[in-house]
Symmetry: C2
Subunit: 375 residues, 2 copies
């Protein structure tokens, strides 16, 4: 959607943003740049001042008009309490929260007897490796899924307002129920985080000579292991049941692999003498093949298989730009780009994903332009 589209009533503001970390400040920044009056609140004076200074909104004033929408962007473990307080403090406002786990928030609010007609939980699937208001980005939500959750009692106006907030910020609203959402993020977000952290933890005691053999595979698998420990502790604890269930399933598969390796490693057991073990290993990798094939492609929807053209790129400023200029000149749209670095040498490989039908044409064009390539 265009950022010039008119805002629906509830998001015309004043909108109150409670919690001015990366997400809250980004919401404030995006709404402010669209002319919405955003009032900021945060227990940390530093975070609050910083959010104001980056343009996320203003501080409250005594003569403020009543807010129409409250966006709670607090840490997961305090979200329910903050939402309940905001529902009480702003009896005519619609209240949403951005917590990445939804079931426990709704359960706590119901237990607290909160007015669920004015509450709609939500979860924008957006984030960055950096955190805090200084990392705020008005475009943070553009193109990302934004889960919108009916409390079961949410009014039509409340649901519309939160969907409108998502679309106004360029996101794609997706209706889900809390359990469905929490099970989904357990497998597509929380599971990979735990796996990446556990793999990376094994590197702590590895010799430098071993780490010198690191390749792109290890870098990809462990990239998100750099995530914030405090935030993830709250997220995992808040979704403990769903994450635990998925990890128990993974452990069962892991046990099978460990047992298979033990019999393959048994003294005198040449691999070909333990077909059962080999079968388990082959099945484990094959099941991974089947699973990864289900991840939606760049434009969502069904997975698309791209052809990959790999090009050697001298590590000199401007070389990658020159390559991509040539790709554009060849009239080929780049679907994905991966840079493979060569440990110990200033040279890189650019793996360019294109629609299968375009690969040969691109290879001819790039070769003609003097690029050294692979396939």
């Amino acid at each position: 959607m265009s950022l010039d589209a008119p805002a629906p009533v509830a998001t015309r503001g004043p909108v109150r943003v409670v919690g001015t970390g990366l997400l809250g400040a980004s919401v404030g920044l995006a709404l402010s740049t669209r002319g919405v009056d955003v009032v900021l609140s945060d227990p940390s004076r530093t975070a609050l001042a910083l959010a104001r200074d980056v343009g996320a909104g203003r501080l409250p004033a005594d003569d403020d008009a009543p807010v129409t929408l409250v966006v709670v962007a607090a840490p997961p473990d305090v979200t329910a309490d903050v939402v309940a307080a905001e529902l009480r403090a702003h009896p005519h406002a619609i209240v949403t929260d951005l917590a990445s786990v939804k079931g426990y928030v709704l359960a706590d609010l119901r237990a607290a007897g909160a007015d669920l007609t004015r509450y709609v939980g939500s979860h924008p699937m957006a984030g960055r490796e950096r955190s805090g208001p200084a990392a705020a980005l008005p475009d943070l939500f553009v193109g990302r899924p934004w889960v919108v959750i009916d409390s079961g009692e949410s009014s039509a106006a409340a649901l519309l307002a939160v969907r409108a907030l998502a679309t106004d910020l360029g996101a794609v609203p997706r209706a889900m129920d809390p359990a469905e959402h929490d099970d989904a993020v357990a497998v597509v977000s929380h599971l990979p985080q735990v796996a990446a952290s556990l793999v990376a933890a094994r590197l702590r005691d590895a010799p430098n000579a071993a780490l010198d053999l690191s390749g792109q595979g290890l870098r990809d698998v462990t990239r998100i292991a750099a995530s914030d420990a405090g935030l993830w502790t709250s997220i995992l604890a808040a979704n403990a049941a769903s994450v635990g269930a998925v990890l128990v399933e993974l452990r069962a598969d892991l046990d099978r692999v460990i047992d298979a390796l033990a019999s393959a490693a048994a003294p005198g057991a040449a691999p070909e003498t333990v077909p059962g073990a080999l079968g388990v290993l082959a099945r484990s990798i094959a099941q991974g093949n089947a699973g990864v094939a289900r991840i939606p492609g760049k434009h969502g929807g069904t997975p698309r298989v791209y052809a990959v053209v790999t090009v050697l790129v001298p590590d000199v400023p401007g070389e990658l730009a020159r390559l991509l200029t040539d790709v554009g000149a060849a009239g080929v749209n780049l679907e994905d780009l991966q840079l493979e670095h060569s440990s110990g040498r200033p040279v890189g490989m650019a793996a360019i994903s294109v629609l299968p039908g375009r690969a040969e044409h691109l290879e001819r064009e790039l070769t003609a332009r003097g690029w050294r390539l692979a396939s």
Copy 2:
């Protein structure tokens, strides 16, 4: 090193390449393009003909001069037998193999009473998602580590020849002993492969609505789960003891996480009432932070922390090229580039890694050029 450097004696050839898959054909292609006479051998007539057609070398002839070097690029499970046969068939040639696991090959050769003075095991840390001779690439080894392993009886000439092969192909030779190598690849290569496959396997039964929430983190963690099941079965079986040991350590950490989640999920147990569980979760993520920080940076050596500038890139041919041209025009060298795709929308985020001191300058320059950015 430059590809024009003179080849040392043993690699002047004729060089015999046994096994014309991706690695063997790439070795043949790289040597052939440097004028070395390469003789190809493969049990598969199709693979052999294809390797010849892509320029990896020629078929054997009756009047061939004796080969000086044999490069065995066979599947891991048959490598030892092939090396032993080549040592017998070419009594004056130096023989190396490229198997990704080394200990069992040397043990089998010693057991078979092979002439270990002429044998030097090696392992180029290079590969592609595509396999077979058609994917062969003369630059496949450029800048990659290439492990060279003294059999304990290897002659100085044999060691020199295999180191020369590595450097001639643009790789960086690294001396290791077999156990050191196998333990190293178990943690930096085989462990992430198993973890990626097990995580991806959990996606098989996930609802489409869950997969629609997939982000870059899941894509990164599971990318290598698309690897070839047959090849990886042989690799894992051949390194069963080392991989098994690392997986047992990972399972111990996983058990702690699962137990912590179970107590956090216990009925009535609010996260803050189970500090012990939270401590375990926080420690697991923090240990991942510490491990990932040890992975060497782009140019090898000690890890370098880069500043990241995130830019919104319309998904239109040429836009990414225009961005990188502007980065070059700003006089900033790009250390790494990651494209984040937005499921459901044709818009992307380019995360540009630069030396910390250059980030502010780059942000000013890109903003001045009209880019919408993040930090």
